[in-house]
């Protein structure tokens, strides 16, 4: 069992967490000018690369979303921080 760091609750079992999305996506706006292709890219496309990744995860137990930096090959976690604008 791996343990992940929730910025709010500390180290917890991996089963308490859920992967949400890769970090760095921003919702295209304004809605009436967004093309189908832009919306599809926002919804569905990811890099899914091997190595260092920055991702948004949710700690299901407290319900908070946060940023995690980790290696997708070794699974080593190198950072865990609150989303910008959320104090931990």
């Amino acid at each position: 069992m791996q343990r992940f760091q929730c910025p709010f609750c500390g180290l917890r079992d991996e089963t308490e967490f859920h992967f949400a999305t890769e970090a760095g996506k921003s919702r295209p706006e304004p809605a009436e000018e967004v093309t189908d292709a832009e919306w599809a890219a926002y919804l569905h496309l990811n890099d899914a690369l091997k190595g260092q990744a920055r991702e948004v995860w949710v700690h299901l137990t407290c319900g908070e979303y946060f940023l995690m930096t980790r290696d997708t090959l070794t699974r080593e976690v190198s950072g865990s921080e609150a989303l910008p604008g959320r104090a931990s």
């Binding site: 089963t15 990811n46 899914a48 997708t72």
Partner: protein, 417 residues
Amino acid sequence: MTRRYSALSLFREGLGGHRGWQPAWRKADPRPAYDAIIVGGGGHGLATAYYLAKNHGITRVAVLERGWVGGGNTGRNTTVVRSNYFYPESVALYDLALRLYEGLSRELNYNIMLSQRGMLIAAHTPMQMEICTRIANAMQLNGVDGALMSAEEAMRRVPLLNRSEDARYRCMGGIWQGRAGVARHDAVAWAYARAASGLGIDIIENCAVTDLLIEGGRVTGVETSRGTIRAERVGLAAAGATPGLAARAGVTLPIHTYALQAFVSEPVKPCLDTVLLYLGTGTYVSQSDKGELVVGGGLDRVPTHGQRGNLPAQETVLSGLLEMFPAFGQLKLLRQWAGVVDVVPDSSPVIGPTAVEGLYLNCGWGTGGFKAIPAGGWLLAHLLARGEHHEISRPFGLDRFVTGRLIDEAAGSGIAH
């Protein structure tokens, strides 16, 4: 020199001390240029090569494999084949595969050990039974053999199923597909490699593709660990490695990669002669010819490129197995492993062109692409040869994510392998 496999050649070779067998395929060295290159020597890549030669007469083709043939998910899966999907598009695809599988040993002169022992998808609540009824109806409308099975019939067919009154997931019946079953995974890869090589195609192992060459919006070749190789048409069939390869051409995909695990028990006498999937626990199991129980279940929930599984998923799968078959609690596990699977939001594959001319995809098979190998190969070969979709692959292009015409088998048939 023995090239064709038969009872007679086995007998003849036996008399000669088995010294006349030829390697099943040539160890080819890369040539500077080909008409088409296929990246990935798994089942889908090798089948593509075979059908390029057989269906389209294109033989100046190389399959580039970074490791060894069939060393990816094709050699790591639990070998369940079936076509009991929900949507007509999926049934057209998976049933093409199953029909090709049914004739494959003969066609390729290689025993792929297809065993159509049937598969039961077991339900545990009245609601699940209703969903099963809906899926069975869809299967019949799609012209595929499939029927609802009662609890009594399920217990009769699978006597070791948990019958206890207080079982958490008592079997209430389910969906039965008689043509489903298992096949030997390595044999499928080796059979296609041998047949493709026999038709003049170069199977090149230990050759990793490191970059895609793009000039003026079209693909012109690949960079590899064994030098530059030119081709105007390139097919990617690299499962979990496809996003990284496509990125070299500026193509981003709707794929997340996860580890999927499998387990094999010590061998025991025959005790299970069908494939069984429990909807309640997500665990499924069959018994191999050697007597081992081959067990699988859901994904690890942490996206990864590491080909190994995590403990929580093991616990879930194995507790599911014991809920299904309490008697298996006495067995020891011999092996456990994982493959990196390429998961798409709607649990259907991606087959089709990309924004780069000449670059085609066969990926996104996720947890269920072994059963589809003959069809995936057939359809990617068609794309590479003709530059346009086969009718069966058209719904599976990348454009479905833009139009919104997803083929959501995760929702439709509660996907499992």
